[in-house]
Symmetry: C2
Subunit: 115 residues, 2 copies
DNA sequence: AATTCATTTCGTTAACTAACGAAATATAAA
DNA sequence: TTTATATTTCGTTAGTTAACGAAATGAATT
């Protein structure tokens, strides 16, 4: 179905989801770490992650009370792999992406999550 | 700006716009020919075309009372060219795309447009 | 077992999108 | 210049989406 294919583009058509994907290309992160960088409500970030997960871009691994999200190393669809690998070239020069990456390097789960 | 980049994906995240792009990869078409294949209102098709045009995917050429739309041979952004060339591989196997192409081959402007 | 903390689900709201028909615009033919 | 035809613009409506906070869930610690 054609709608299946537009789903991939739809997943990429939101700025916050693109930022999440780029962050996860730096390192895997839990929900509250992403929330800290994006400055959105936890529930909003969780929703974005579920969209990226259902499309096949990312997977999750449970780690105690945390849920780690990471780029799917084995996407269900060659199109996903293709997009993920070209995403570097596509948006690495963007200022917000650069500063997101810097924040991601420094972010500490134990400091950020429990206030 | 990151929103500029999501615009490209947003343009591709609608089934009818994907169908239009694939049709135009077969041959250039006027609005009413596209309308005939998609079975949408003329104003709706016109809107889709303006979105694809403003993103840089397609251009228009005036031909008397007709406006021909065609794939932009010189896109403003390397990302557009990249997507356009991979679009073949992405969605050529889809049934609706195949039947669209068949209809496009047969469609006759002078027969279809003036009822 | 109760508490704490991370995350998800739910319900709501505001903004956005795709669709339509009607009216406006533009070009060609009569 | 009137008429016909192709397309665009406008206004409206229904459906979708992204955001939030509150409540529910799940897992570790006390």
């Amino acid at each position: 179905m054609i709608e299946e294919k537009t789903k991939i583009f739809k997943a990429l058509s939101d700025p916050n989801r693109l930022r999440i994907l780029k962050m996860l290309q730096t390192k895997s992160l839990c929900v509250c770490e992403i929330t800290d960088v994006l400055r959105l409500a936890t529930s909003t970030v969780s929703k974005h992650l579920s969209i990226l997960k259902s499309t096949g871009f990312i997977i999750e691994t449970k780690d105690g009370k945390w849920v780690n999200y990471l780029i799917n190393p084995r996407p269900p669809d060659a199109r996903i792999s293709s997009v993920l690998s070209t995403l570097d070239f596509w948006i690495s020069d963007d200022q917000i992406i650069i500063s997101d990456k810097q924040k991601v390097q420094k972010v500490d789960r134990n400091e950020v999550c429990s206030r």
